[in-house]
Symmetry: D2
Subunit: 162 residues, 4 copies
């Protein structure tokens, strides 16, 4: 039977878009779908786009909405795309969900940039969500951390142990 | 402490190159290094390029060389890039290595193609090698299979259960 | 009034495709359309796909078909995409057409390759066809040559004076 | 003899960069060099990077510096990369230079974005600068306009007749 993976999208750099007419970026929700189209994976993907925000704009209400969605989806394999500057915050919100594997992922560069880390990071998260026991994880920089055990190094961009 | 991952390169579509002057493709060995440069991962990567071949050209001697290299490397986390048409063959050769996690990966399209699956697949393999117990696995199509439990569907290109 | 440019497609490396299931390349006809979509140009483009061949497979009958199409199109601005190994041959066939500007172009690497020259070369041809007097030209390597005044350097890939 | 083309770089969207650690874009000066590397052109390119600015930040002093540089370079074929929102302004400054062909070009999307118009536009400018008589031109949207005969449509992004 094919595994079922829920992708819950909230925005962040991975979904930044740079329209031909825009001075600044906007946030879309197409990165996961574009990448899965390249890969043609042998699992069932449910893509749920909740909102398109950078992490600093996410409210308590938004975080509760994410938590409710995680609880509600019928699969226990969840990948949450999220801005890279507040992954620990949302990890804390989700930590009460005990019976699901939730992998928080994003990218430092938009999936639309030529030398993006988005495709690698999504592939990484897809393996992590299928192999890890229930829990809430941050999957960045080629590493898997429990949500409260890492931080983003502001100089290198790497996610490192805390 | 940073995990240490050995990447053993042997060729396959992931490393196909399409030179401006060549009528047919050639095989290089730069895909893994290029992708890791984008990602700037927080692990130690040892890249070992053994040869550059498509899978049909790999000999018994080549397979033994791969097995010896897997045994010799000081880490127990090994990613082997290999042509997608004979992954089961090399899996069989490596099955006698009992104490290491060996993840066989490749891509259907060269890493140099715009809509390649290479970055996703490498990210996928990097998570798999860190989370799976010792054993030999094929990691393709967003799925992890024991080496003898999958086959490539010749119509869809997907790796499916056998 | 918007200029009208006819793009006559015949194949060549610019339209090479590397399907996930193919051992060798195939030839498609989508390169020009994909590139114009990025650019959103302010001219009228008529895209006419005649056949999908590498230049060595083009017959006298094919060349006559190209010549007839060039004569028939209602615009006097024609861009012909063609394999880079026989541009002079087709130039000779078209040299009898006296009242149109025909720019022969292609690329050394497929438009589907990340570091392709296809986009640059197409842009180059689009300017050339609008600025040059009637005649048959080869537009490659950032240069415009009368069809019988250049050759491809087999070592560098550059089109140089003959 | 190879033609000599001076590329004078001032910034604009074509050179926008989206660093992994930056919230907003920065301006670099690598787009022309990266593109020419793909193309391996058969002309002599002199790349002169004057400053890295979006067009709204360009001062009268900056414009005079551009004009002086155009006058000083030993070739009469000049391509000026510039922000797309003020191309007419700089065109006016340069209009007094009578003996050179100056082509103002840029792109709506950064050269670092996957579906950029930068490569096409640079190719377009390179053909234009070699075929047009002395004068100052804006080369955008697949069209060549005298500097004072076009405007950017703020809805479509296209450069159209004025």
């Amino acid at each position: 039977m094919k595994p079922q993976i829920a992708f819950i999208l909230t925005g962040g750099s991975i979904d930044k878009e740079y329209g031909a007419l825009d001075r600044a970026f906007t946030i879309g929700n197409g990165a996961v779908e574009r990448v899965l189209k390249f890969v043609n994976p042998n699992f069932k993907a449910d893509i749920i786009s909740l909102f398109q925000k950078v992490s600093v704009d996410i409210t308590e209400k938004d975080k509760n909405k994410i938590a409710k969605t995680c609880s509600k989806v019928t699969t226990n394999k969840i990948i949450l795309t999220y801005g890279t500057d507040a992954m620990t915050d949302i990890g804390e919100t989700l930590a009460t969900i005990k019976d699901k594997t939730i992998v928080i992922v994003g990218s430092l560069k938009s999936q639309l940039i030529k030398d993006t880390d988005a495709e690698f990071n999504l592939g990484f998260a897809v393996a992590a969500v299928q192999t890890l026991p229930a829990g809430v994880y941050i999957a960045m920089s080629g590493r898997i951390y429990p949500w409260n055990k890492c931080k983003k190094n502001k100089t290198s961009g790497q996610f490192i142990e805390k």
